[in-house]
């Protein structure tokens, strides 16, 4: 497994972990109370920032086995990342589009959207971004295996 594949699996783990954790917190404390519940907001922020930090820190750690080739990332890896970036871009755009249509249709009559959705859009954008890149990379390796 290449370092980039390991990174993709890590991204997948972090993305799923963040999703499950945030969902669990919302279910435990009640999503509707997000507007007034400072603790709920704080936990959601900590989970997002914490997940990102774990992801960023582990990316910096390079593991090299003795006797193995010095090259960790080569042209094929770069090509896979380039394609995964397109997957990432489209996934984030699609998620924003879905949010926009769903919220517009759901709150059309009220003419306003609860503030909680701004946070949810930001959090989901972050998670979709991490997950889509990881999935794009893993699909790329599967196709070029």
């Amino acid at each position: 497994m290449t370092p980039l594949q390991k990174r993709a699996w890590l991204g997948l783990g972090v993305g799923i972990g963040m999703s499950v954790a945030i969902l669990a917190v919302f279910i435990a404390r009640g999503g509707t109370s997000f507007d007034d519940d400072l603790v709920l907001r704080a936990i959601a922020y900590v989970l997002c920032v914490g997940g990102l930090l774990v992801y960023a820190i582990t990316l910096r750690i390079k593991r090299r086995k003795p006797g193995r080739s010095e090259v960790l990332i080569d042209e094929r890896d770069k090509e896979i990342v380039r394609r995964a970036t397109m997957v990432q871009l489209w996934a984030v755009l699609l998620s924003l589009f879905i949010w926009a249509i769903a919220l517009t249709e759901a709150y059309w009559d009220q003419k306003s959207i609860p503030i909680v959705f701004v946070y949810l859009i930001a959090i989901s954008g972050l998670i979709v971004n991490i997950l889509a890149q990881a999935i794009g990379i893993l699909i790329g390796y599967r196709r070029m295996r």
Partner: protein, 70 residues
């Protein structure tokens, strides 16, 4: 992704050159062993630069390593 139209003889050439390992070839041309595996399986077409580096390691013209098939 459609299967590459570029065929190659990397596996054959490795064995003809003292059963060179994929790891050794990867190290000498500056790529990962996984890329050599993908090249041998014809799942990946290398850049011109990598193709020349591989040919140079075997001491043959690039056409002897890679063949274009229509």
């Amino acid at each position: 992704m459609p299967k590459a139209e570029i065929r190659n003889r990397i596996r054959r050439l490795r064995f003809d050159h003292g059963e060179m390992t994929q790891e050794e070839l990867a190290s000498r041309v500056g790529c990962t062993r996984q890329t050599i595996i993908a090249l041998e399986a014809e799942k990946y077409v290398p850049s011109i630069s990598l193709a020349f580096r591989i040919a140079r390691v075997f001491g043959v013209p690039v056409e002897e390593v890679f063949q274009y098939e229509e």
